[in-house]
């Protein structure tokens, strides 16, 4: 199942081009860089800072039906952990295929312990379910 990553800021596409071509750290960038100079899309996602005209560090995972499944937002001075973002993304894909399973906090990748059919029988028995 394919995925597209789109980075978005309130800069224009012209600025994105100039930045990507001049910054060596971005030499291998493969994703599209979205331009939202009016802040319209940024406002919809609640990341637009009216005082500065800039976007906060928000990440959103949207499934192929257009449903919003995950959101994370950091203030300007804290970078995001890509490993955690990928963990959430993998977990969402996994659960879209195994709809009777849920991924606990320690889940990292396919093959790790999940909880199957969490229901009445698991109430008060999560420890046992996680450790058997």
């Amino acid at each position: 199942m394919g995925c597209d990553i789109v980075t978005v800021s309130t800069d224009t596409q012209f600025s994105h081009l100039a930045w990507q071509r001049s910054e060596k750290e971005l030499a291998n960038v493969k994703y599209q860089m979205g331009a939202d100079p009016t802040g319209k899309v940024s406002r919809m996602f609640g990341v637009y800072d009216e005082d500065t005209g800039l976007d906060l560090r928000g990440t959103f995972i949207i499934n192929p039906e257009g449903k919003l499944l995950n959101t994370e937002m950091n203030f300007y001075n804290l970078g995001r952990n890509i490993d955690e973002m990928m963990r959430k993304f993998k977990a969402n894909i996994y659960m879209s295929k195994k709809t009777n399973e849920v991924c606990p906090s320690k889940w990292k990748d396919e093959g790790d312990k999940t909880l199957v059919d969490p229901g009445a029988k698991m109430v008060g028995k999560v420890h046992e379910a996680l450790n058997t």
């Binding site: 005082d51 949207i62 919003l68 499944l69």
Partner: protein
């Protein structure tokens, strides 16, 4: 108006939106739309950041 209140709720269908993009692979400008993503059955990750030419 509140600065950072997330308008969208988890689990909801995101209203369609469109962005003009710069695509480094093609070296050209392009378009991204949620409608296209849904039509092509693809996941997407939106990654907002403050500004180009800063320390992301």
């Amino acid at each position: 108006m509140s600065d950072t209140c997330t308008v969208l709720k988890l689990g909801q269908i995101v209203p369609d939106f469109e962005l003009t993009t710069y695509d480094p692979v093609k070296g050209d400008f392009g378009k991204f739309s949620l409608r296209d993503q849904i039509a092509r059955e693809r996941w997407c990750i939106l990654f907002f950041y403050p500004a180009d030419f800063t320390f992301v």
